[in-house]
């Protein structure tokens, strides 16, 4: 289906910011699963812009505003044609995971840092899943389902820097935490797993032409002779309602906006996303 997304981030500074330099990761990439029909990033006040692809292949728009401003508004508009294939059957065996072609190639998606490190009791559950799973692909899905079953989606229950272990401990979190947790579990089993940021249309059956409030969303992909996506918050493999924007090891690699400013003492940020099915 064809989706149009508006993603607006507003920074409000207390006092005037004399300068700000930011990097936005809000541009979807064309892949076999989605074609980017159109994309535009607008910034007010008018900045100087440069674009590049980062280490993980994500499009980054870098912009600098060197005139005093008390507000910065960044709006990304994307029109994307999605065409996902249905989830395929597991292919690799557990031995395949230990080969150089997998373990060395995807070593970055096997390392665990504080953000994704799974807590011991979770690891226990994950190990049991491993025992019953003939193939890594099966285990991967089961781990994601475990996260869905046990962790409740509670907006505001965590912060941007909350570690997965903490979310597990309180059995509550948002999509970012669930994704981190599942990633940690998968990596513990030696399955390369990566973090995906993007958007999805919240309705199960989107109505053409209807604009709904959406959100910045996160899910994961694991390697099984190809990257397989799964959304632990919705307990489904992403379908045509999903648009991916950035991939990385964890949230810190895919931040929609990051940067620096000088002059003002604090800044506040607000985000709005809306999604419209066009076709």
């Amino acid at each position: 289906m064809q989706l149009r997304i508006h993603h607006t981030t507003t920074f409000t500074y207390d006092g005037k910011a004399t300068a700000s330099l930011n990097q936005a990761r809000m541009t979807p990439v064309t892949t076999p699963e989605q074609i980017v029909v159109h994309n535009r990033i607008e910034v007010s006040p008018k900045p100087w812009i440069s674009e590049y692809r980062d280490y993980f292949g994500t499009y980054v728009t870098s912009f600098e505003v060197l005139d005093p401003h008390d507000q910065l508004v960044v709006t990304a508009t994307s029109t994307v044609q999605t065409q996902r294939q249905p989830a395929s059957e597991p292919v690799l065996s557990w031995e395949d995971l230990t080969t150089h072609a997998v373990a060395d190639r995807w070593t970055e998606y096997l390392m665990r840092n504080d953000l994704v490190e799974p807590p011991d009791d979770f690891v226990e559950r994950v190990r049991r899943i491993r025992e019953d799973a003939a193939r890594p692909g099966e285990a991967a899905r089961a781990v994601c389902e475990l996260v869905y079953d046990e962790v409740e989606y509670v907006p505001g229950s965590t912060q941007v820097h909350t570690a997965a272990a903490e979310a597990w401990g309180q059995r509550a979190g948002v999509c970012q935490d669930m994704t981190h947790l599942a990633i940690g579990g998968l990596r513990k089993l030696g399955i390369p797993a990566r973090y995906v940021s993007g958007y999805h249309h919240p309705s199960a059956d989107p109505v053409v032409g209807e604009t709904v409030t959406g959100e910045s969303h996160a899910w994961l992909e694991w390697w099984d002779d190809g990257w397989h996506a799964f959304d632990p918050k919705e307990r489904i493999a992403p379908d045509d309602r999903y648009v991916s924007v950035a991939v990385g090891r964890d949230y810190s690699d895919v931040k929609p906006i990051s940067g620096i400013y000088s002059g003002a003492s604090t800044s506040e940020m607000s985000v709005e996303v809306d999604v419209t099915r066009l076709d």
Partner: protein, 312 residues
């Protein structure tokens, strides 16, 4: 040259001159207070402190006597308008621009400064300390004159010195009209500038307030006069900025200083003398605005910004 370095050179010039001229002013005043018993110490000291730009609220005391004056304007390194603070600031600016200064100049400044932490400065009493400051300033200026290449750095150094000199001479003139005692303060004031003999020669021994004011403000040949300093400052700006427009001035600082100088030269002296304190204050404000103009034009953005990270 780098804005940051140019700014340092400018301020070296200003701070060294400030230290020297403050010493001159204090020399006159302390001498007067000692010599003339009829002078009201409190009134003179309060007036002096105010002319030097210190607000009464900042004094932290109601009784303003000589010891307060000496602390605030000479020895107290924490008071930003004191001689000690000026010397320290000059050396700090020199440290940042060290690569641009000649080695002898750096050493002259550094050695002068070192007298403060070593205690030597504070061990000197008045008037010996003022003499010492004048000598060190002469050494610094002479060394600069002898060893510095006449490039942009030099012109900024001179510009700072001239702007400060115009400013401080105006304060010196203002303090001369302070003392309400029997003795005329003008001979002491003229002596403090080192121009007393020159004045006597020029004015054939007739010492009047009018003549002294004329000499200190308007004399085109005496190096410590305000007009001389302003003219020199204009020359520095012209050297720094070689473009010569057909009409007017591109350079705001040049315009401000030139206008001030023209006013002084073309207005009747009696007009100026009628309200000397106010006129001198105007001059000081002009110097401050000229400094701002110079800063905006040549030193802009030379301060380090601090950045805050933000991420969503």
């Amino acid at each position: 040259m780098l804005s940051r370095i140019a700014e340092s050179m400018f301020w070296i010039g200003r701070y060294v001159e400030r230290a020297e001229d403050t010493a001159r002013i204090l020399d006159v005043q302390t001498q007067l207070l000692i010599e003339d018993a009829t002078i009201d110490e409190q009134e003179t000291c309060s007036g002096l402190v105010s002319i030097m730009g210190i607000e009464p609220e900042d004094l932290g005391t109601d009784t303003v006597d000589l010891s307060v004056v000496l602390d605030r304007l000479c020895y107290g390194a924490t008071h930003h308008s004191s001689i000690a603070a000026s010397i320290a600031a000059a050396r700090e600016s020199a440290r940042r621009a060290r690569e641009t200064l000649s080695v002898p100049l750096w050493e002259a400044l550094n050695t002068t400064y070192r007298a403060i932490p070593s205690g030597h400065f504070h061990s000197m009493r008045t008037p010996a300390v003022f003499q010492w400051v004048r000598e060190r300033a002469a050494l610094v200026n002479g060394t600069a004159d002898a060893t510095m290449v006449r490039d942009e750095g030099w012109h900024f150094l001179m510009l700072g010195r001239c702007v400060e000199r115009a400013d401080m001479t105006s304060r010196l003139v203002a303090t001369a009209s302070l003392s309400a005692g029997d003795e005329t303060p003008w001979s002491a004031t003229l002596r403090a500038t080192g121009g007393y003999e020159a004045f006597l020669r020029t004015y054939r021994g007739v010492e009047t307030e009018r003549a002294a004011t004329e000499f200190l403000l308007l004399d085109r040949l005496f190096p410590r006069s305000v007009v001389f300093a302003l003219t020199r400052a204009e020359q520095c700006l012209a050297n720094i900025d070689a473009t010569d427009p057909r009409a007017g001035f591109h350079n705001e600082a040049q315009r401000l200083l030139g206008r001030m100088r023209a006013e002084l030269e073309y207005r009747a002296l009696s007009e100026i003398s009628a309200d000397l304190p106010t006129e001198m204050e105007r001059l000081q404000r002009t110097c401050a605005m000229a400094t701002e103009a110079v800063t905006r034009r040549y030193f802009a953005g030379a301060e380090a910004l601090s950045w805050t990270g933000v991420s969503h």
